[in-house]
């Protein structure tokens, strides 16, 4: 993992701008719109993939870039989801304002808990992130008057986006809405990762001692990364609340954090696209396998994890990189190394 980080660091030291600006986002849009026309009957499921993709992307920033080993990332996502749901019910039905509310809530949870938790390290940190998410889960479960408890928070309805695009039964609007939010978020996250700020994050990931010796306030830096990650996780939660029109306790559960981690590792955590590759592969395989037998699905995912850790530490994205580096047109995708 350290070797990958180092390679990234040297690549970023010599910035290679993409030949085409917004190339990754354009590719994302092309794939997304292609899927829109190819699978018109599965748009609800595809929208779920996009939302989960955004969540895993936020984890990629926190864990893949800065190396913060959180197993309670669902705390931000769930808080964002409940915040957006409550916002739509009690304050305003404007979807964009709801997104903002969810993102802010996720960020606030991250900054408050991160300030305390990031003073610890290793397994203690991992356990504390689990504890935070579980405590929030129980609070949401107990405060049924506010959150609906076990039954979930229902009755969420939002106005048409920008007053024009109303949500329809076939999830067309939700899908394109999720795609647009994902694209904008991807652009922001990619800019962060490619910036000196992102380089510092990878530096802390590779060697925190040395970064401290260089005069970097690693605690403050990690807290900022953790907060940005929480913000985007909250955004993903808000998106899911608006699209599904219901928020369940599962959005705060340990399983949600664990699944996201598996998707990230299988896809590859060193670069942002790995998060999306992992999400798409995981969710499609799960969708197919779970209809056969949910337990047999665990054989596949368990085997996938072991193989990834032992044989393919860079995840599936490293296979893509390996192949594309040997293609005649390899100069084409080069600028997008981090993004």
């Amino acid at each position: 993992m350290a070797a990958v980080g180092l390679e990234n660091a040297t690549a970023a030291a010599r910035p290679q701008r993409p030949a085409i600006p917004f190339l990754p986002e354009v590719m994302l849009a092309a794939l997304g719109i292609g899927a829109f026309f190819a699978f018109p009957n599965d748009l609800a499921f595809l929208a779920r993939i996009l939302i989960t993709g955004l969540f895993v992307l936020s984890l990629s920033l926190v864990l893949g870039q800065a190396g913060i080993p959180t197993l309670g990332h669902s705390a931000s996502m769930g808080t964002g989801a409940y915040a957006a749901g409550l916002f739509a019910i009690h304050v305003s039905q404007d979807p964009l304002a709801g997104l903002l509310a969810g993102g802010l809530a996720g960020g606030v949870i991250a900054v408050v808990t991160g300030a305390l938790l990031l003073r610890t390290a290793h397994l203690t940190f991992v356990m504390l992130t689990i504890a935070v998410a579980q405590i929030l889960y129980e609070i949401a479960n107990q405060a049924a008057w506010l959150t609906g408890g076990d039954n979930g928070l229902s009755g969420i309805s939002v106005d048409p986006i920008l007053g024009v695009f109303g949500f329809d039964l076939y999830s067309r609007t939700s899908y394109l809405y999720a795609l647009a939010v994902l694209m904008v978020s991807y652009f922001i996250l990619r800019t962060i990762v490619d910036s000196p700020f992102g380089l510092t994050s990878r530096g802390i990931h590779s060697d925190p001692e040395r970064m401290r010796a260089l005069g970097c306030n690693t605690y403050r830096h990690l807290l900022i990364v953790f907060t940005i990650g929480g913000l985007f996780a909250g955004l993903a939660g808000a998106l899911s609340a608006q699209v599904a029109q219901v928020v369940g306790l599962a959005s705060l559960s340990f399983g949600t954090s664990g699944d996201a981690l598996v998707m990230l590792i299988v896809g590859g955590s060193a670069r942002l696209p790995g998060a999306l590759v992992g999400t798409v592969v995981f969710m499609i395989v799960e969708h197919v396998a779970a209809t056969v037998n949910p337990y047999h699905w665990l054989f596949i995912i368990g085997g996938l994890l072991i193989v990834t850790v032992l044989v393919l530490p860079g995840g599936l994205i490293s296979v893509v990189d390996w192949v594309s580096a040997r293609m005649p047109w390899r100069t084409f995708g080069r600028g997008a190394r981090h993004g």
Binding site: T120, T124, L128, Q134, Y295, V309
Partner: protein, 287 residues
Amino acid sequence: MNMLLSILVDGVSYGMILFIISIGLSITMGLMRVVNMAHGGFAMLGGFMAAAIMAWAGTRFEAALAAASVAVALISVPIERLLVRQVYGRHVLDQALLSIGLIYIIVAGANLLFGASITTLQIPHYLTGWVAIGNHTIPKYRLFVTVAGLIIVALLWVAIERTSFGVRIRAAVDNSAIAQTVGINTSQLYAIAFAVGAALAALGGIIGAQIMPMESTYALKYLVLMLAVVTVGGMGTVTGTFAAALLLGLANTAAIYLVPSMASVAFYIAMFLVLTLRPQGLFGRSL
């Protein structure tokens, strides 16, 4: 008064089970610096194997207990040699993910063989019923679990503090590189410690099956619980793990009796408080 006694009896026996299951995890973490999330899988393997032995071979509980524990120890050796050893010295995340992958496979396997419902482990007749102590009666089973826990903690204490094997273990926990240079075969030590830890987990899983029932998701369900005991106690210490297991067992049981709806919150809050005040755990050395 009666409720206080009930909390004490249930909490202590619950803590003992947590201790027996988690101590192997604590030792391997202190010794190999490896996070083996699949440790609960050994407890689960033990429980299912004992149930299978009793059902198919018709042996007594005690024989099944011994056979299953030994079998789990034997199974754990190739797992350590072939899989877990690959991630020694790697990032904590790699270790966690490899062992989570292992859990998924164990869970899926248990489901395939035993189904998704609870598999009951029949305890012998002489452990059912009640025993009178003074004016109070307490369940024989809870007493048995508590005594078993005390015997194991005493045996472990003697083995680690008073034998030459224990000296080598402690040396390797303190500094494995130096232990190796003075001629301690750490690789062999790791395998033995791993196997003993696995056998103890199996033992705990079997005798604790009345408190933590055997089902195919066992290894996942109690994962956070075991990790909490180890981190709160401070990894690699027998006394720390013992104290943490009792503390968390009592906190959880007291909450179940007093404020049932907040029981799991109480557990996590207890863990949260200890870890924020003492990140290295109750008895752990500073990290």
